[in-house]
Amino acid sequence: MNQPAISPRQFMFIVIFFTIGSSILIVPSPIASAAKHDAWVSVLLSILVGASLVLFYILVWKSLKGKSFVQACTFVFGAWLGRLFSFFYLAFLYILSALVLRNIGDFMTTQIIPETPLTFIHLFFLLVVIVGCYLGVESIGRSAEIFMPWMILLFLFLIFSITPQMNMDHLRPFFDSTSKEIIDGSTVMIGTPYLEMVALLMVIPYVKESPKTAHGWFIGSMIGGGFLFLITILSLLVLGSDLTSLNAYPTYNVAEKINIAGFMEGLEIIIAIIWMITIFFKLTVLYYASSVGIAQFLNIDNHRILLLPLGMGMIVLSLVAYPDMAYYENFVADTWLPYAVTHGFLLPLFLWGGLQIKNRAQKNTL
């Protein structure tokens, strides 16, 4: 057996990065525009829903018995129907990774390097991701271990250096929003990191068998949710709900406000390392999941040959995906949640039901 393997601890770190990546940039603003100054309540609500979703994914993983999502689809539904299901699943992963790539590209071109064409940012970011996927899941796991302290230190630095600018009045009056507004806000975060975790069902067969794996997934997603809660409440405390909902990247604007003793300013680019690291890991996991999935879909052993051609396609897809900002906001607000629910909840539910029947039938024949 030469199966690549990562430890449950490394898997937990990957889950933390996966939860934080890209959500840290795009989540606070729509939540704040839906739930105003009570946005932090909707984040807590979505962490609760996310916890139950993760428990559901763990249930699915337990019945997968070491297969990946795509393999299990073929196993349960047969070659043709299974292929159809895994085609939609893989299309979801591929589109999602193109959108995550577009997130970092949009962020860089609007905030940091506005003169550079989007294509080249995507190209160079994706090249690093492809190298990561080429080296395999073990290297991704180990580098997650290396980068974890960096992210936590930078995060603590952000929190401590912004403390003087916080203003509790921004949160008052508490619980002023209606429950509909709070639920509307929470759907944003349920859709963006939690339902996307279905991608991890492609990676989890590579985690060493251990009772701690499920633990690692659950705790990792909760820690990631905690980071998102902190970043949302930080944006609310520093900027207030109006500015948080108006800015495209409120967390970056929070970092711009850092002012230590009146002379240390302009540290936002150091803070931006947090999202570069986390988005890198999220994109690597998604890209790895989709390339391994496509390789299993086509029944070829070596997923590495697909990495570069798929990357070329992904750059095109990420460029054409959003013609403009209005399209993006419209898509995220109206279409993303049902799309993610169909592929992140209904599809695994079907698979889980099928696996239950299939596993029982197999037990009876033995």
């Binding site: 299309a91 589109i95 086509l298 029944n299 070829i300 052993d301 070596n302 040959i305 697909l306 570069l308 051609p309 798929l310 070329m312 396609g313 750059i315 095109v316 897809l317 460029l319 054409v320 995906a321 959003y322 013609p323 898509f331 109206d334 279409t335 049902p338 799309y339």
Partner: protein
């Protein structure tokens, strides 16, 4: 002009990096998958680089869910 030259250059770099190894293994399926994937990617890239309208999968996704929601009168 330049973008297309760049795309063809990139595609030939990818081809020369991976094809020799594939050819040595003589696995017809892998070779076929690789070439089809690469050709699709190159077609899409040139399509995009010439400024033509590449079909956007998100449009289909959006249209599909709009159709579903029209049943429920949202």
């Amino acid at each position: 002009m330049w973008p297309i030259i760049g795309i063809i250059f990139a595609a030939s770099v990818i081809f020369s990096l991976q094809f020799p190894g594939l050819w040595k293994k003589q696995n017809k399926k892998e070779i076929a998958c690789f070439i089809i994937a690469l050709l699709t990617a190159v077609t899409m890239s040139i399509w995009e680089a010439r400024g033509m309208n590449v079909p956007n999968p998100l449009d289909y996704v959006k249209a599909f869910y709009a159709w579903i929601f029209s049943w429920f009168d949202f």
